[in-house]
C-alpha cells in the first residue's frame, strides 16, 4: 500500500498535465476530472513503479486514454478520434520539453493583447463554462456575434502563440 504523501505527490505532480490531456482528447470538464481520478486510482492500485516523470506521464496518459475509450463505448458515443500516433505526435509537439510551459507563457502574453470584451468572452467560455447565450448577454452581442468573436480570438491567439514559441 502506498503512503498518503506518496499518493498526494503523484497526483499533484501530474494532475495538471493529465487533465490537459483529457481535455485535449475532447472530454468536457466534469468527465475529465472523473477520468483523471480513475486514472490515478488505477495507477496506484496497479503499484506502478514511479521512476521518472516522463515515463509516469506516458503511463498515465495511456491509462487515461483507455478509460476514455471505455467510457465512449459504455455511453455508445460515436466519437472519431485520430490515430493514436497522430494524437501523441500532436500532443508532444504542443507540450514541448517543458510540459506546455512555454506554450502557456505565450498564451498569457497573447491573451493580454486581446480586447477586454474578447477576454471576457473567453473567460466566460473557458473559465466559467458559460453558454453562448450567457456570453452574448455579457458582451452585448448577438449569439452569432459572440461565436464569431471567439473564433476570431482563437485564430489570433493561435497565430500569436505560434510566433512566440518560434514555430
Amino acid at each position: 500500500m502506498r503512503g498518503a504523501v506518496e499518493i498526494e505527490k503523484l497526483v499533484r505532480d501530474h494532475q495538471a498535465g493529465l487533465l490537459r490531456y483529457l481535455r485535449f482528447l475532447g472530454c468536457e470538464e466534469n468527465l475529465a476530472q472523473d477520468l483523471a481520478q480513475d486514472t490515478f486510482l488505477a495507477t496506484i492500485e496497479a503499484d506502478f513503479e514511479i521512476r521518472d516523470r516522463r515515463a509516469t506521464s506516458g503511463y498515465l496518459r495511456t491509462t487515461a486514454r483507455n478509460f476514455y475509450f471505455m467510457w465512449l463505448r459504455k455511453m455508445r458515443r460515436e466519437v472519431t478520434l485520430p490515430d493514436e500516433d497522430l494524437l501523441e505526435a500532436s500532443w508532444a509537439e504542443n507540450e514541448g520539453d517543458d510540459e506546455g510551459g512555454l506554450y502557456r507563457r505565450a498564451l498569457r502574453n497573447c491573451l493580454a493583447k486581446l480586447s477586454q470584451r474578447t477576454q471576457l468572452a473567453l473567460r466566460l467560455r473557458y473559465g466559467e463554462n458559460a453558454s453562448r447565450e450567457q456570453i452574448s448577454f455579457a458582451t452585448g452581442l448577438e449569439p452569432e456575434g459572440a461565436k464569431t468573436l471567439m473564433r476570431r480570438a482563437k485564430d489570433k491567439l493561435r497565430e500569436c502563440i505560434r510566433k512566440q514559441v518560434g514555430e
Binding site: Y21, R23, F24, L157
Partner: protein, 507 residues
C-alpha cells in the same frame, strides 16, 4: 480543418481552460477514494463505539478481587470471633452457664451470615434501580437530571458493600449533565459502563462554556471526556469547550454570537464564545462570522473574519475567502480568492466567486443563510406605527401616505449579501411598497408590484435592490443603518397583516 489542425485547436482550448478556469486539486478525492477501498487502520475515520467490554472487564475483575478479599476478611474475622467466644466460653464455663447461653444467642443475632454481607442490603436497592437504571428499560434513553447540582454525589454502592459483578443491573446508573442525552442502551439491554459516562465528579465538561447556541443536522457524533455520543437534533445537547464533533453528512452550528458554521468533516471546539478556536481534523468548514475565528490544522492556523471555507489538506488548508479576509501569521488572503495555506503562508492564489465555491463543495450547494435579525411579531419589537399586534401578527390599515410597520429593536447595519424576508397579507389587491428608514434619516424602498388579495405571501428581497425614495437612481449600499421597516400600498388603501420579518446574510 484537418485532423492536425483540429488537435491543435483542442490543445489551445485545453490550455485556455487551464489558464482561465479553476484547476481542481484531485489529491484529496483520490486519497479519499483510495482509502475507502483500502482503509488504513490508523487513519480510520470510523468512530469506535464506547469501550464497553474493555472498560467493564477490568471492573468486574477488580470487583471479583474485592469480593474475594472481603470474603477472606470476613472469614478471618468470624474465625477470630469464634475463637474469642470459645475462649470466653471456656473462662465462664461452670460459672454463668444460663447467661452465657443467652449471650451466645444475642451474638448470633448480630453476626450476619456470609450471604447477607455479599449482597447489597435490600433497602438500598430502590435508590438505584427504579428509574435510573437504563439496563431495566433498554428502549428508553437514560433519564436526564434537571441540573448539575442535583446529581447524586458518590452515587455508587454504599461504602462497605461489595460490588456484584455478576449482576450489572445493580451498577450505579449513568449520570448525565442536564443538557446531555446519552447513548441508548445497546440491544442486549446493557448500558455503557459507568466510567464511559460523564459523571458528577467529572465536572469540567459541565462547567465548560457553551460555544454553540444551536445546531441543525441529521446525527452528530460528539467526543467528550473520551466518550463518544450519538446526538440527534431533538436531544438537548449543548456543545461546549473541548467537544469534538463529526456530523453524519453535514451540520450547521449557530454560534453564541450568531455566527454560522457548516461542517462536513470533523471539528474540535475550544476557546471562548467570542474568540473561538477550532481544530479541523478532517473535511471542510464553512464559516460566516463577524468575530475572528481561529481554525487550526496540524501545521497551520487560519484566522477568518467574514465568509470563507477551509478544507483540510495534508500539509495545511485550502482556503476560500468569499468576503472579509483570512490571516495566517503575517500573511493574509483577501476576499474573492482561494489559496493553499501551508506553514510558509498562502500560495497558488486564484480568483474565485461564490459559484466556484459551491461547485467545489457539495455540502454548500444549498447556500448557507445566517439569520441576522428575526421578528415573528409575537410582541412589538420597537415602536409600532400604522397598526397593532394581534395574535402574533401586526395588523393595520395603510394608504400611500401612511405605512404599517415597526422600529427595529436596534439599528441594523446592512452588509453585502443581506436579504430581507417577510410574510404578509393584504385585504385589497394593490401595488405594494416596502420601505426601510435609516439612522441617516433617509428612506430606501422597493416596489413589490401587484400583490394578490387575501393570500399569505413570503417575499424575499436582496437589500441591494433597495433604492433611495428621493433618488431612484441611487442604490442601497452596505453600511446603511436601518431603523424601521414598513409596507404600504402605492395608491389607495388596504388592510395589511405582517406575520414575520427577518434579515439573513448569505455569501
Amino acid at each position: 480543418m484537418n485532423e492536425r489542425e483540429q488537435l491543435n485547436e483542442r490543445y489551445l482550448e485545453a490550455q485556455l481552460r487551464e489558464e482561465l478556469g479553476i484547476e481542481p486539486d484531485l489529491s484529496e478525492s483520490v486519497l479519499r477514494e483510495y482509502y475507502a477501498k483500502h482503509p488504513p487502520e490508523k487513519r480510520s475515520r470510523v468512530i469506535p463505539p464506547p469501550p464497553r467490554k474493555p472498560a467493564w472487564r477490568p471492573m468486574a475483575a477488580a470487583a471479583a478481587v474485592l469480593l474475594a478479599a472481603g470474603l477472606g476478611c470476613y472469614s478471618l474475622v468470624s474465625v477470630l470471633q469464634d475463637r474469642v467466644r470459645d475462649d470466653q466460653r471456656h473462662e465462664r464455663a461452670g460459672q454463668q452457664q444460663p447467661v452465657e447461653l443467652k449471650e451466645e444467642a444475642d451474638t448470633t443475632q448480630f453476626t450476619p451470615p456470609v450471604k447477607k454481607d455479599v449482597t447489597p442490603e435490600p433497602e438500598q436497592k430502590p435508590d438505584v434501580e427504579p428509574e435510573q437504571n437504563p439496563g431495566d428499560s433498554p428502549e428508553e434513553p437514560p433519564a436526564e437530571t434537571p441540573d448539575g447540582s442535583s446529581w447524586p454525589k458518590g452515587h455508587t454502592d454504599p461504602p462497605g458493600a461489595f460490588p456484584v459483578p455478576e449482576k450489572p443491573k445493580s451498577d450505579p446508573p449513568p449520570e448525565e449533565p442536564d443538557d446531555v442525552v446519552g447513548p441508548k442502551p445497546d440491544p442486549k439491554g446493557w448500558t455503557d459502563p459507568p466510567d464511559a459516562w460523564p459523571r458528577g465528579d467529572h465536572s469540567e465538561s459541565k462547567k465548560a462554556p457553551a460555544l454553540v447556541a444551536q445546531w441543525k443536522g441529521d446525527v452528530l457524533h460528539v467526543t467528550r471526556d473520551g466518550s463518544v455520543w450519538r446526538v440527534k437534533p431533538d436531544d438537548k445537547f449543548i456543545i461546549r469547550v473541548g467537544d469534538k464533533v463529526e456530523p453524519k453528512g453535514s451540520a450547521e452550528f449557530t454560534l453564541m454570537d450568531g455566527g454560522l458554521l457548516r461542517l462536513d468533516g470533523e471539528l474540535s471546539f475550544d476557546g471562548e464564545p467570542e474568540a473561538l478556536s477550532l481544530t479541523l481534523h478532517d473535511g471542510a468548514l464553512y464559516a460566516d462570522v463577524t468575530h475572528e475565528l481561529a481554525v487550526t490544522s496540524e501545521r497551520v492556523t487560519a484566522r477568518l473574519t467574514g465568509v470563507g471555507v477551509l478544507e483540510q489538506r495534508l500539509h495545511g488548508f485550502e482556503v476560500f475567502c468569499v468576503s472579509g479576509s483570512v490571516r495566517s501569521g503575517e500573511d493574509d488572503l483577501t476576499a474573492g480568492y482561494r489559496a493553499r495555506l501551508e506553514d510558509d503562508g498562502f500560495k497558488h492564489d486564484k480568483k474565485i466567486g461564490w459559484e466556484d465555491v459551491q461547485r467545489e463543495f457539495k455540502f454548500l450547494r444549498e447556500t448557507p443563510k445566517r439569520v441576522m435579525l428575526h421578528e415573528d411579531l409575537a410582541e412589538a419589537p420597537g415602536e409600532l406605527f400604522g397598526g397593532e399586534i394581534k395574535d402574533g401578527v401586526l395588523v393595520g390599515n395603510s394608504d400611500s401616505e401612511n405605512g404599517s410597520g415597526f422600529y427595529l429593536r436596534e439599528p441594523y447595519e446592512y452588509r453585502q449579501g443581506d436579504v430581507v424576508r417577510f410574510r404578509f397579507r393584504i385585504e385589497t389587491a394593490r401595488e405594494m411598497i416596502l420601505q426601510f428608514g435609516t439612522l441617516e434619516s433617509d428612506n430606501w424602498r422597493y416596489k413589490l408590484g401587484g400583490v394578490k388579495a387575501g393570500e399569505w405571501i413570503e417575499y424575499e428581497l436582496p437589500l441591494s435592490k433597495l433604492y433611495k425614495t428621493t433618488d431612484v437612481a441611487k442604490k442601497a449600499e452596505p453600511g446603511l443603518r436601518l431603523k424601521f421597516f414598513q409596507l404600504h400600498p402605492e395608491e389607495g388603501k388596504t388592510k395589511i397583516e405582517i406575520d414575520s420579518v427577518e434579515i439573513v446574510h448569505q455569501p
